[in-house]
């Protein structure tokens, strides 16, 4: 398999074949990152498309100083945060977008009883809502860590912060998520 950085260097020389390989490799994680950042299929599609077009257009300025993955998620995280800012200014609520686009949690395959499955499904739905209520930066950080599997150091590179700042950001995001899940279950004691 050809190395991402080599491919990107070829892209910087205008090679559309190398670009296609990179896009085929990364469009799914990028799309899911945006889906979880925006809660909207339509917005996730637009942002994914825009990210790859921007990446090609600015490829000539690419310098392989960090891994390709952190380079890519740096662009994605910036786009997700500025998108959230614009949406807040427009006053569009994430939760309306969530229900309109039918962004459903995973299939309810956990637990043998239908009631348990339904309860699990509701819990996941509550989790998604809680996730979309987080500030955009915290949401990006938790998704990069848990969803995309980046290390604290990589997230620090992506977000232009120190490792302790990232640790603290993720911890605060988890406190809010835990608080909302407890509230959902009627145990709002945090």
């Amino acid at each position: 398999m050809r190395d991402d950085v080599d491919l990107m260097l070829q892209v910087s020389r205008g090679d559309t074949g190398a670009f296609r390989i990179l896009m085929e490799r990364y469009q799914k994680p990028v799309y899911n990152f945006f889906l979880r950042s925006t809660g909207s299929i339509e917005d996730a599609e637009d942002l994914t498309q825009q990210l790859f077009i921007n990446m090609f257009r600015s490829a000539r300025r690419y310098r392989p100083s960090s891994s390709f993955k952190t380079y890519l998620y740096r662009i994605a995280a910036n786009m997700a945060v500025s998108f959230a800012r614009k949406r807040r200014r427009r006053g569009t609520g994430s939760l309306e977008v969530l229900s309109e686009d039918g962004f459903e949690p995973a299939s309810n395959g956990v637990g043998g009883m239908p009631d348990e499955a339904a309860e699990r499904g509701e819990l996941k739905g509550a989790y998604v809502e809680a996730l979309l209520r987080l500030p955009a930066g915290q949401r990006a950080a938790i998704e990069l860590r848990v969803g995309r599997g980046l290390s604290y150091r990589e997230i620090a590179e992506v977000m232009g912060k120190s490792v302790p700042a990232v640790e603290s950001m993720i911890s605060r995001a988890r406190e809010k998520l835990a608080h909302d899940l407890r509230a959902f279950r009627g145990k709002d004691e945090l």
Partner: protein, 147 residues
Amino acid sequence: MDCNRFRLMLSRELDGELDARGQDELQRHLGECPECRGYRLVLLETAACHRELPEAGPPPAILAAVMAEIEGRNRDAAAWWYRIAVPAAAVLIMLLGLGAGVSLNEAMLAENGNGVEEVLGLEQLDDYPPGSFGEILVAATEGGDDG
């Protein structure tokens, strides 16, 4: 008891980024703090919920749209280059042709003794004024030939 520090440690533990010393300290705290034990269970639940979120496949139209955009852009760039390059190449060929013509003319003149002797009448260079360096030189040469 200050549980905030331990909440940060619980988050690190969940991410597998808590060192052995931190683990020991955290376990001691959890042994005596029911609130943090409860918090830990909820954190585990949030992590499970996140991991179970579906990984959707992007619609194929995204790749197609992006490739169409960038290939169209490359075609536009190529067309622009073509519009500039063809006239530029034509001008270059004309200039090169002109340069080659001049060189060829000079080469032909060189073959014919440059044509310089005829122009300057150098066949009469032996007629040097008396006492001049030319006359001395010619005399010496002719003398040498005789000798």
